[in-house]
Each structure stands twice: as structure tokens, then as C-alpha cells.
Symmetry: C2
Subunit: 385 residues, 2 copies
């Protein structure tokens, strides 16, 4: 899942994301809550409609970003109080508040409020944190079940072209008819609309730090709460890749195979292929987009830093095996020039390519799964490490 922190995958227009084959993107609750605010997004019809994204959306719980971005945070059983990194104002996230905000945003998948345990951490600390995450998962689910119908489209019919025209009342005379339904739809598959108000799906999150038995216990007790999907959180926080894989493998033994299994915040291309081969269904990471803005491009020949002087006269495409619109049209020499000149188009083109590389990687994985043999995809990707 490409990460669209503040209601935008940084530098990439939504139609390009569609062309790239992005089926689901992620929004960050912490950012959207602070700006533009979840109540504004609710009034605008929810995040799908606000950002004009008709495909699936997932929002995180806000917990992880409070830990990584905000100032003066204080964790208690009730929740996490923090100061905004934007204006210093004080806020409190609780499991209930996180659910309220995420329901207002109206993503298709929302996440239970958890504590991402710091690394390294002593066993006792990790157990206490894991236990609290389990209690928060229960509170998240209780609030969610009681309020899940309070979605942005809860008080109106959706999916009807005549209602979508409300966005543009007064402008019906223009040539927008053909696109307006598509562009401004609330992003809810029409089959849901027939059976009442569609609601998000709430996923639980496994914690447990780097202790296999705690991971196992966390997974077992989270599964007992019966979520429609499960995430494995608290990884890629500084541990070795072997440890990451061990923790994922441990959780996957417990998490049901017939439910989506989602590893949060990973990873490099070769890692996501490995995790998929282990049985992981979903992943998100800022790496392809953030790296792109820093000039780091992922290719079938390995990573390249486009600002390197050796690309100054390189007339080849970023990746000779890539079919994306950037590799089809622009040379490495041009991309280097854009980056070195701090041109805004650098971020646009670099991000498009990196997302194409990631999404094509996962397309190859899905294809290999269909064929029943992941060995080819695995051997290709491992060679890039």
C-alpha cells in the first residue's frame, strides 16, 4: 500500500496512482486529525470523496505517529496525550477517540489503537505494553461496534449519481457529467449499498516486541477477539531483519490464513517479497515515496542514487525492465538534472517510478502465487539485496 499520509500520496496525482494499479492506499489518522481535521473530512463526505479516491483506503490508528512525531507525549491506561508537531496544541488519543476519528474519515479498513513498543525493551516492559494493547484492542472494538454506522455517509444515500451531483450543484451545464460520478463517488462498492450502510472493517494488531512467546500470546488473544483482519505491528523499529522475520513467522503461525494478514511499516522490495512468500497479504511503507524524494530509486538492477554524477550523461531509463511512464519517457540524465536542480518534477517522477517498481513487484508476487511457485520471484529479488 502506497502511503498517502495527509490525504495525498506525496507528489502523485490520483489518476496516476490509478494507472499504476494501486488498489489501496493508506492515510495517517494523526495527520488528518490535525489537518484538515476529521470533522471537516466527515463533512466533505469522508476521505474517499475528499481526496477523490474511489478505490480502497486504510487508516492507521494514529498511535504509531503520536510516538514518532508528536512532542511531550504521555502514555497512560486511558490513552496518549500529546502536543501537535504543527502548532503545539494539546490532544488526547484514546482507543475510543481513535475509532471516532477513523470512522469519521471513513476508510474501508481501520486499525485498533495500539502501543508500538519501543526497541530495545525489557521483557517485563514489553509484556505490560502488550497487555495494554490487548485492553485497548477490546476498547477499540467495543467503541467501533457501537458507533461504526456513524460513517460520513451514514445520514444519506450514497452511490447515486444524483446525490453525487451535489458536489457541483449549479455546474451541471458543463462537460463534467461523464466523469463526475466516477470522480466524486464515495468509493464504496455498489454491492454494499444494497444491504444498508456500509461500514469499515476493524483490524486488530499483534504486538509483543522481539519476544516470540509474547508475540504468540498477543496473536492468540487478539484472534480470540475475532477481527476480520490482523496486523503485525511494532516491527522495523531497529531490530535485525532475521528478528523481523522470526517475529512475523511466529505471528503467522497463529493468525488465521483465511483473514488478511498485514505487516505494518515494511519494507525494502526484497523484504516485501519474502514476507509475501511467508504468507503476508498486506504491507505499507513510506520507503518508495520517501526515498524517491531523496533521489533513491529502486530498479531491477538494484538501488541507484540519481544525484550521482555518473548519471549526468546517462541516456538510459531508470530501469530498463520497467514499463512505467517515467522509464518509458525520461532518461537518468534528465532525472538527475531535475533532482540536482531541486525541481518539483523530480519528486513527481521519482515517486511514480518507485511506486511502479513496488506495485509491479507485488503484481509479480500475486502472479507467482497463482501459478503456485514463488521461487522465481524470490530468487530475483534476493539478488538485489
Amino acid at each position: 500500500m502506497p502511503v498517502g499520509t495527509a490525504g495525498t500520496v506525496k507528489a502523485v496525482p490520483q489518476d496516476v496512482l490509478e494507472d499504476l494499479g494501486a488498489q489501496i492506499i493508506l492515510g495517517n489518522t494523526y495527520h488528518l486529525y490535525l489537518r484538515p481535521g476529521h470533522e471537516l473530512v466527515r463533512k466533505m463526505g469522508g476521505l474517499h470523496r475528499f481526496m477523490s479516491w474511489n478505490r480502497a483506503l486504510l487508516t492507521d490508528s494514529g498511535g504509531f505517529q503520536v510516538f514518532s512525531l508528536s512532542e511531550l507525549r504521555k502514555v497512560s491506561e486511558e490513552g496518549v496525550s500529546f502536543r501537535s508537531h504543527i502548532d503545539g496544541t494539546s490532544h488526547l488519543f484514546t482507543p475510543e477517540r481513535s475509532m471516532e476519528i477513523q470512522i469519521a474519515l471513513g476508510a474501508d479498513i481501520i486499525m485498533a489503537f495500539d502501543e508500538c513498543t519501543e526497541h530495545p525493551a525489557e521483557r517485563d516492559r514489553v509484556r505490560r505494553s502488550m497487555e495494554m494493547t490487548l485492553r485497548w484492542a477490546k476498547r477499540s472494538k467495543d467503541y467501533f461496534e457501537a458507533h461504526k454506522h456513524e460513517v460520513p455517509w451514514g445520514d444519506r444515500e450514497i452511490g447515486r449519481p444524483e446525490n453525487q451531483e451535489l458536489n457541483h450543484k449549479g455546474h451541471e451545464g458543463t462537460q463534467r457529467e461523464s466523469d463526475s460520478g466516477k470522480a466524486y463517488a464515495a468509493g464504496i462498492p455498489s454491492e454494499f449499498v444494497q444491504s444498508g450502510i456500509p461500514t469499515p472493517a476493524l483490524f486488530g494488531i499483534v504486538q509483543g516486541g522481539m519476544y516470540a512467546d509474547l508475540r504468540r500470546e498477543s496473536a492468540e488473544r487478539t484472534v480470540e477477539m475475532d477481527f476480520p483482519g490482523y496486523a503485525i505491528g511494532g516491527l522495523s523499529v531497529g531490530e535485525s531483519r532475521e528478528k523481523t522475520m522470526e517475529m512475523i513467522a511466529t505471528a503467522l503461525e497463529i493468525l488465521p490464513k483465511d483473514k488478511p494478514r498485514y505487516v505494518m511499516g515494511v519494507g525494502y522490495p526484497e523484504e516485501i517479497v519474502k514476507y509475501a512468500a511467508m504468507g503476508v497479504d498486506m504491507m505499507d511503507c513510506v520507503l518508495p515515496t520517501r526515498a524517491a524524494r531523496h533521489g533513491l530509486l529502486f530498479t531491477s538492477e538494484g538501488r541507484l542514487n540519481i544525484k550521482n554524477a555518473r548519471f549526468a550523461q546517462d541516456q538510459g531509463p531508470t530501469d530498463p525492465l520497467c514499463g512505467c511512464r517515467v522509464c518509458q519517457r525520461y532518461t537518468r540524465a534528465y532525472l538527475r538534472h531535475l533532482f540536482v536542480s531541486a525541481e518539483p518534477l523530480a519528486a513527481v517522477l521519482n515517486t511514480i517510478h518507485n511506486l511502479a517498481f513496488y506495485l509491479d513487484t507485488m503484481k509479480a508476487v500475486r502472479h507467482a502465487i497463482t501459478l503456485g511457485d514463488l521461487s522465481g520471484v524470490l530468487s530475483r529479488s534476493v539478488s538485489l539485496v
Copy 2:
């Protein structure tokens, strides 16, 4: 002409510019000379190929930007010495050097090296400056005629698919065949290739400050040199709009109607419509792109500052009469959120809309000219001032 200073119309991919109907864009010699350097662009096959832009290109002479951007410039009869605004290195632009650089960049239209007279300026100072610009025009033309075949494609055949594949030697096995010819063509219409090496067209520039008789004399003596097109420079430098129009009208009386007549560095939408109605064929301005990056959007209802709080919940498009991809898909509320959040997508979408508004304005002007009646276009645009 949208301005593509450093080989990119800031924040907009080339395929979007094509979709917007941009037929010609402008590159800045000063910027391209400093970075990536005209010799590098020459080696890459010229600016068309370097930036993958198959339509027309115009480069300015570098003179104006030396005056406005560089440090420690010193003007003499020989030319202008200056220090780079990027790294402080010393450089000298002369008419001959400007021609050499522009021929290396390989635009379709290149501009004579002129001095943009400061405003306000005494009559004597303006006359001396105008006289020097005329001498520089002669030197530009002499050098150009002697060296115009030194274009980036001068030592090879162009327009042949097999040569264009040189860009991607070794990658022929990929799926790029269908696009490579189009994407990497040098941007030269094939009819030129049959009759030898195509060369740029050199335009002369009228100066003369805000003195009608000097403008007239400058125009007459520039026309005597017989250029294939003429620009009117030194305007929009702080004078009143009435004075701008008076100077344009004065020059247009002299400049031949059967040659392109180009006013440099203008203007607001209502101004470019007026100038076109007066007989101006070409204009360039950073306004639509620069304003977009500052959140100022041009619409059929007037200008709007998208960061204004009144747009926070505005579900309408930027311009209800605009058919561009931004107005078709995104609300003012979303564009405001992107801008306030300093998201890179703000510059992308705002620029696309503003360029669409400008290019659509000129499309309407061309249509009105074909119909023989500009009054409708003029009255609509004047109401926006």
C-alpha cells in the same frame, strides 16, 4: 508559452503539458547554461531530446535573467559579465556566446542577445541601451548565420527510429518499441529532415524603453536586419499597463504582420487577450506557473487565493467552467488542504489548472480570430480585471 525554466515546466510532467495543448514552451538560456550546462544538453541530443519534449521550444537569450538573477554583473560593449546565482562562479555572456549556447540547446526559436533597459530610465540612457541592443542584434545574427548548423543533431541523421534507439541500446527486448520513437525523437518535424539539417529561427528584439519614438526606431532598424520573427522586450518592468499597451501598439505599427510578433514576459489573462487582439502572436510569462505555486488560481470568475479559509469546505471545482483534469476531479476544499499542508501535489495540481486556464484562454482567442470577432473574448476577459 508556458515557461520551462530549467528544462521543466515546474511540477508538471511533459505528457500533461501535451494533454493541456501546450504547442510550444520556453526554456531559459541562463539557467540551462549554468545547470546542466549547454554542452551536456548538446551531448544529450539537444533540449528537446534531453527533456523529452517533441513539440516546439523557444529559448531566451539569457540577457534578461542575467539582469534579474545574477550577482555583480557588469555590462560593456562586449557583453555582460556576471557571477552565477548558484555557485558564484564568473561568466561572460556576449551576443556570440548567447548564440553558441542557444544553438547547442537546439530550440526551434532562439532570441537575439539584448539589453533589457531598466525602468525608469532617462531618454539618453534608453537611446544608448537601444543602440547597443541593435549592435548586439547584428552580432547575434552574424554569429548565428555562420554557426547555425552546429545544432546538436548536426553531425548525425535524425528522425530515424534506428538512431533513436541509441538511447536505449541493449534494451530492445523490452516493451518500449512502440513509444521510444515518439518519446525520444529530437522534436524536429520530419519534413525538415528531408531538406538537410534543420536549424533554429533567430528572432530580433525591439527595445526603446517607454519612449514611443525610440520604440519606433528600434523596430524599424531591427526589421531592416530581416529576422524571421520579432519580439518586443523590456516591458512589464514596472510601467503602467497603459504605457505597456502604448509601447506594444507603437512597435506593432512597424513590425511586419506576416511574421510572428512576440511580447516577452506578459501577462495576466485579461492582458494577453488584449495584446492578442492588438495583433500579438506570441507571449510567455511565469505568472500562471509561479502564481500556482503560491496558491493563486486564475478562473473564469476571477482570481482566487486557494489558502483562504473560505475554501476549507468548498466542494466546488476551482473553476466551474474549466474542463481541466484538476477541475474535473478535485474540490477547492482539497486543493486548499494540499496547499495549507505544503503538500507537493499542491504545486502540481495548481499549476496544471492555471496552465489550462491560460491555454484555454488563448484557444478561445484563436477561435475568435478564425471567426473574425474578438469582441466576445475581450468583454469576457476584461470583466475579470
